[in-house]
């Protein structure tokens, strides 16, 4: 599936092979392989400094890869930057708007940069402002906008030329919950209307559960990928949380039975695939040594925590048993 073929290359919206970015001694992106299909909603997830933004910047031709290749809609990011940029829209973490211009003026400026005729820009601006709930702000300067409105306008700015692939780098960062929800509704509407491929980075994991597929990136490497529900299912049937004073000893004692423990202060978390009877037995056995024992369904957040914990262990050979859960390729 990962072998290169020209037909596959054009059918894919994004294809990266061994994509690498090095800053001095630091490997920001480390031989990354990635396939995103046309129309897919793809999420690249990972902690700060894991290489998400460097990846987006390479895929959008803003920085040059140190090694490897990447194609967007069939165009090479290293040699065909102009064609790649014509096929993509990019919404950066930081605003890309002129605060002194109005919403409509910003959209006109963006549209002209993509060589759209003025009448067409006017038509699309009106559509986008309506879609993003900004119609009544169209002639107000961006400086007077709230963070949520600015972000909405920035996304409208990023899609005015109807790109095949839209890159969203942390689109909801710094926004409060109602505004984050609004932005997601806009993106949903946009996808429903245009069917464009969306490549997203975020560290608000609950938001990524809407993605068709996600990949977890850690120290520039993809450590796990798949559809969110699949990853959650693969993690285990339950997550057990144990509160105790002597967490280290209990973790060590349970490790042979429950596998690697996630330490979280006073709490230990295990993945658990057994049934309720086993849980009850566990509870009885440790009743006098623990403060509390809870179990719950896992979510994408747990996948993220486990990816972080276990892939950190990969660096120390002592914990190799946990690798099976994290290695995809």
């Amino acid at each position: 599936m990962m072998r290169d073929s020209p037909a596959l290359a054009t059918a894919l919206a994004i294809r990266a092979r061994e994509l690498t970015k090095r800053y001095g001694d630091m490997l920001a992106v480390d031989h990354l392989n990635l396939d995103v299909h046309a129309g897919e909603f793809f999420g690249l997830l990972g902690p700060n400094g894991s290489g998400k933004t460097s990846t987006i910047h390479m895929l959008s031709t803003l920085i040059r890869p140190t090694g490897g290749t990447a194609h967007i809609a069939g165009h090479d990011v290293s040699n065909d930057g102009v064609k790649v940029r014509a096929a993509i829209g990019v919404v950066f973490q930081e605003s890309a708007l002129d605060r002194n211009l109005s919403a409509a003026e910003n959209l006109r400026f963006a549209g002209l940069l993509y060589d759209l005729p003025r009448a067409e820009i006017k038509r699309r601006s009106d559509e986008l402002l309506a879609l993003f709930g900004l119609t009544d702000r169209r002639d107000k300067p961006v400086a007077s906008f709230s963070g949520g409105m600015r972000r909405a306008l920035d996304i409208a700015r990023g899609v005015i030329h109807r790109p095949q692939v839209l890159f969203l780098d942390e689109p909801t960062i710094g926004l409060d919950l109602p505004n984050r929800k609004k932005i997601w509704r806009f993106i949903e509407n946009l996808r429903a209307e245009t069917g464009m491929t969306v490549f997203l980075t975020t560290h608000y994991l609950e938001e990524a559960s809407e993605c068709d597929r996600v990949a977890f990136i850690k120290s520039g490497r993809i450590v796990q990928s798949g559809p969110p529900h699949e990853l959650v299912r693969r993690l285990g049937a339950f997550v057990i949380e144990i509160e105790a004073d002597d967490t280290d000893r209990i973790a060590a004692e349970l490790a042979p039975r429950l596998g690697h423990a996630m330490m979280d202060g006073e709490r230990i978390c295990f993945r658990f695939n057994g049934d309720a009877a086993q849980l009850a037995a566990l509870q009885t056995e440790f009743a006098d040594r623990i403060g509390a024992l809870r179990w719950r369904k896992p979510n994408l957040n747990d996948v993220f925590l486990w990816v972080n914990e276990t892939s950190a262990d990969c660096e120390s050979p002592a914990h190799t048993p946990s690798r099976d859960a994290t290695l995809q390729r």
Partner: protein
């Protein structure tokens, strides 16, 4: 790249020029301060009512091409240096993801800074005409050429600096170490031929001197030998256009080499912890 993106950049610059009233106002006031405060002061000091040229010509009239040039030097440099603000504020992000080679950004920005400067020059010119400071011997074609070439040369100087600068922490430094020296050592305030050797050589290296001299050709001080021009018309035009082309080429090369832009991208993203 076709014309629409270039027009978009120019249009934005003009909208900003007229929206930033204080910028426009100071562009009008600055030359007038030099003309009336420095000019009148020197006249009073040197020759009591118009003898400072030694042959009856007023120093104030000598200053007219210089203050007209000043409106372009400052207007173009400030517009071009605002590119550094664009780098920081986000508009540059819009430009770098747009589908054309990055050197077009430099070309478009240079043109827009030059046009903004020319507009300010025309406004100052109107002001000078209303105040009666325009020479009767002025040559309209030379004036048009002088405004165009001086605006372009000032804009390309500014773009060259902007392309080599990452932040505007040192904006005041630019003002004091680049713009003011270019103005002082240009023949705007004194004829180059009367300067001491060292200063004269610096003035002859300064491309802006040739812009001021071209404006002196266009706005001659009638009957004065001491206030005459320093260079020939052809030399002025050749230096201004040659320098503009060279500076723009260097700025383009510097800007389209992605490694030059990369530290900025990297810095911007790391500031946010990624």
């Amino acid at each position: 790249m076709t014309y629409r993106p270039i027009l978009a950049v120019i249009e934005r610059e003009i909208v900003r020029l007229f929206r930033q009233k204080s910028r426009l106002l100071s562009a009008m006031v600055r030359p007038m301060i030099w003309l009336f405060v420095i000019g009148a002061g020197f006249d009073a000091m040197l020759g009591q009512g118009g003898g400072s040229g030694g042959d009856g010509a007023s120093y104030q009239y000598f200053l007219v091409p210089g203050v007209l040039g000043m409106s372009m030097l400052f207007g173009a440099m400030l517009a071009a240096l605002a590119t550094v603000y664009d780098k920081e504020s986000g508009v540059m992000r819009m430009l770098v993801v747009a589908p054309f080679e990055h050197y077009w950004i430099v070309v478009a920005k240079t043109l827009s800074a030059a046009i903004a400067a020319a507009i300010q020059a025309v406004l100052v010119l109107i002001l000078l005409a209303l105040l009666g400071y325009l020479s009767k011997d002025l040559s309209p074609p030379l004036l048009v050429a002088g405004i165009a070439a001086t605006s372009l040369a000032s804009a390309s100087t500014g773009m060259l600096i902007a392309a080599c600068t990452k932040t505007l922490d040192n904006f005041a430094v630019m003002m004091n170490l680049v713009i003011f020296p270019m103005f002082f050592l240009s023949g705007s305030l004194y004829p180059i031929q009367h300067l001491p050797d060292a200063l004269r050589i610096v003035a002859m290296i300064n491309p802006y001197s040739y812009g001021v001299d071209l404006l002196k050709h266009a706005l001659p001080v009638s009957g004065s030998v001491n206030f005459s021009t320093d260079f020939s018309l052809g030399l002025n035009l050749a230096v201004l256009l040659g320098f503009s082309a060279l500076a723009t080429a260097i700025a383009c090369a510097r800007f389209s080499r992605e490694t030059a832009y990369e530290p900025l991208i990297h810095m911007l993203s790391r500031k946010r912890g990624e």
